[in-house]
Symmetry: C2
Subunit: 329 residues, 2 copies
């Protein structure tokens, strides 16, 4: 408890106003659950557009779309919760076993699936499926061989570029973590598409607290049959001095890439015996540090869902969950 308070104090120092309208809405109708998570009130808080030519059709370089990164038409993915290290098209139905939160602008990579938010030039959500065996051998690939690159499958009007990040002060932060996809050099390379990248505060966040949460996810994969991971940016409102709630976020570069105020990660862990346990996290895009307890960043599932505008693992009956954020449900 002392640790938790200390962590909260560190983060409160790094932030300014409080989470505002988001928790206002939460407390309004769901006070009990809100109070359980009241300590988060202190730690979570919030802080387009350029051109080519005439013909839209001509501008969109469809030929540049890598064939292997084909856009998929999500039908009904067959549930396959047991973890086998497969490759190829079946991998999508494994990763998306519990449903697509949205279906517009979905991109399917060899080891993760992503939906793109064309208005904010960030991903909307990124889905992964981690297993111990996929995380075992890290010797056959090298991060040095990977380079950040534009996602050619995104229309130029809506694409983020390396130029957007230059001198912005923000890291190019992975959503599907690079270290989750060492299964092949191709899989690793694909995490460097800028559609999988968001502007993140470097010191104290991307390189620290967020990295700690990513490691936590991998540890969960090693102690479970597998872990389904949903990750994404959030743009949360905060209460300002005029008593009103505002969403405010910076945009960077010629393409006005949005800087998310927060990021979420939802883990759906299936144990060796087949039981499901879910954990939901939200972290502010601020310096936090690496000596955090990730469980201090637990949030109610519906907090993420309401803020993100979609449901998480909708295909899994809620009655199938044994625990949520470490508590029996």
């Amino acid at each position: 408890m002392a640790t938790r308070k200390a962590t909260a104090a560190i983060i409160a120092t790094a932030t300014c106003t409080g989470v505002g309208g988001f928790f206002f809405g939460l407390s309004f109708k769901d006070r009990d659950r809100f109070l359980v998570h009241a300590q988060l009130k202190d730690v979570l808080q919030p802080s387009s557009l350029a051109p080519p030519a005439n013909s839209t059709a001509a501008v969109f370089d469809a030929g540049a779309l890598r064939e292997k990164n084909s856009m998929i038409s999500p039908s009904s993915p067959s549930p396959s919760p047991t973890a086998v290290a497969t490759v190829g098209p079946h991998r999508v139905s494994e990763i998306m076993a519990y449903g697509f939160p949205t279906t517009d602008y979905v991109r399917s990579r060899s080891d993760y699936v992503l939906a793109y938010d064309r208005k904010n030039r960030n991903a909307l959500w990124v889905a992964e499926h981690l297993t111990a065996e996929r995380l075992l051998d890290r010797t056959k690939v090298s991060r040095k061989l990977s380079a950040f690159q534009e996602d050619q499958s995104v229309h130029p009007y809506f694409r983020s570029t390396n130029e957007d990040y230059r001198a912005s002060g923000f890291d190019r932060g992975h959503l599907a973590a690079a270290a989750n996809h060492w299964v092949s050099q191709d899989s690793l390379d694909e995490t460097f598409f800028l559609s999988n990248i968001s502007p993140q505060v470097g010191v104290g966040f991307n390189r620290d607290a967020w990295n700690t949460l990513e490691k936590y996810s991998r540890d969960k994969a090693k102690s479970n049959r597998s872990v389904f991971v949903m990750t994404g940016p959030l743009y949360l409102p905060s209460l300002e001095q005029d008593g009103k709630h505002y969403v405010k976020y910076q945009v960077i570069g010629p393409n006005s890439v949005a800087v998310p105020t927060h990021f979420f990660k939802a883990l759906l862990c299936q144990s060796a015996t087949g039981e499901f346990h879910m954990e939901c996290f939200v972290m502010p895009n601020k310096p936090i540090g690496s000596t955090i307890r990730v469980t201090d960043f637990y949030v109610p599932r519906d907090m993420i869902e309401r803020a993100a505008g979609f449901l998480l693992f909708e295909g899994l009956p809620r009655s199938a969950l044994k625990t949520m954020n470490g508590r029996k449900v």
Copy 2:
């Protein structure tokens, strides 16, 4: 020109900082077109969440979804640009003859089509198809019989309510204008679904400048074979004193309904001889007044597309356009 300057002065007085990052991006790569519209720099400028119970499936009252307002699965709408006052399912393919900008969360009403932005609790876009004959007889319906009502087809997590607007200071502003849908009482009533409503400044905007633009659209329908209308909210960045660009917008009510900083309207007019003429407008959600010239609010088509995150009338070959904002293309 004096009128234009006067209008700009009025709006500049009513706003504060300038359109910022959006035009920054625009000027960066498309300076020529930007300069044409430079006067807009002075007039355009920018100013989550509550619960039910456990099971998502149970919470979503699917039964409450009106059958007649069925969610459609947009395939390839057949082009039918000639205007005949039909009703029923064919109406959707008429309205959407030139393509769906997005396909998630589309709702098809008897006389308009809408895509819902679940994150902002506003529509993403609303599509209409206006013809002179549909606008003729206004005697058989009454606006007094229509009432603002929640859209039961939207999940409660993402739905806006009348409660959200109460004491907010904002009008419940129509996107598909009520006065465009007098063809039947049902059609009129459907424009009062809150999914078709955005928080708008009342005096000077919703009741004045925006209303003038809506009237302009109907006038266009009377002087053309038909007019395809796309309307929607925008959230534009502005330059702040720290030299950075931010998107900032208020959210209102228990459900954190976003207050758009701007609204766009794109008109695709097909003349009696079959020629296509397009006009694109963006207005700030601020007091502007009713004595405006709507053509002072012309913007380049791609300004709307980049800001909104989708393309407009993508199904119409750009070579088919005779004029854009009154100029030959």
